[in-house]
Symmetry: C2
Subunit: 192 residues, 2 copies
């Protein structure tokens, strides 16, 4: 399924979603964003929902690649996760587009399934890094599943705060790092 054409369509879907918003996302606009005809888009994706499912699947794949780092260092692993989720520029339209899709989840079970999968993946990566860190003696004893849920909820909150309030992701990152420091004795690398 992942051919050059479908990849081009998926990337154009993301750009169109950012530019026009969910309500005004059409096959025609996606065709204009890509070098692909609407007929070719319809050949690969029957509906707007199928297109957005592919877009979300691609997002999950990219998240997986970003958080795969040398698991022998749980601190580096947690840092990689925080880098991945707090990377967005507040002026970037992608977080806004993603928030719009999240608001559609109650009406599209297929989107919801993908957001649930992404959430489970995020919590699992954090939980594993915390477990590994405790086992290796880097972190203080705690309940990794509780820490993972807490951090994930704060990450979700940071996403809304960036979109609704225009707040810098770094503000939420500091909140999360203070929490991890209190729970795990985990200090992020000092920055200048």
């Amino acid at each position: 399924m992942a051919t050059e054409t479908t990849d081009a369509i998926i990337r154009a879907t993301g750009r169109s979603l950012c530019e026009h918003g969910y309500a005004d996302l059409t096959m025609q606009r996606i065709a204009e964003e890509s070098a692909v005809t609407t007929a070719a888009i319809h050949y690969h994706f029957e509906t707007k929902e199928e297109l957005l499912n592919a877009f979300l699947d691609d997002l999950i794949d990219r998240f997986e690649r970003e958080v795969v780092v040398d698991a022998s260092d749980p601190r580096a692993h947690l840092t990689a996760v925080l880098d991945a989720v707090f990377a967005a520029d507040p002026d970037d339209e992608f977080p806004v587009a993603l928030m719009e899709l999240k608001a559609q989840a109650p009406y599209h079970e297929t989107y919801r399934q993908r957001f649930v999968a992404l959430d489970e993946r995020l919590r699992s990566v954090i939980e594993t890094a915390v477990e590994d860190g405790i086992e290796a003696g880097h972190f203080e004893a705690c309940e990794p599943a509780v820490v993972a849920r807490f951090v994930t909820t704060a990450i979700n909150g940071g996403h809304v705060r960036m979109v609704a309030l225009g707040e810098a992701p770094a503000d939420t990152r500091r909140v999360v790092e203070a929490y991890l420091d209190a729970e795990l004795g985990w200090r992020p690398e000092a920055t200048a």
Copy 2:
């Protein structure tokens, strides 16, 4: 400004937003939801943005009323705040409508101003309750502003989780209560 007519229009705006979503919200639909003509709506509110500003102002007013409780008991105060923010039913469409408006904030400075005001109010109420509780010897010493930011971020996260994942608000409330317990030695009233 707050007359019976404008109140009726504002309530109809909320219902229409829940029913049709932001993109399909029109003066006509709001008129159908209320006993007010589109001409009368236009007389009071020139644009959809003005209508939604009034809707958000009303939301802030209602939040204020819900969190005003006897401030002599900081525990009851915190409980009232948590009751107010975690009251939603996951099947309720209001949180979805609110999430849609939050996703519009980057394009509507007037919405953003109101979300910022609501956020500041929420953080201030929590911060004051924590300060009062420390002063009265109910809570352990901590940084009230840090606790308030943390709890507010988690509340924001709980809102997304309810909408995007269909998760019960009670799940986030437990996360917040565990955090408050760890920070303040604050145990919510035991429930059966």
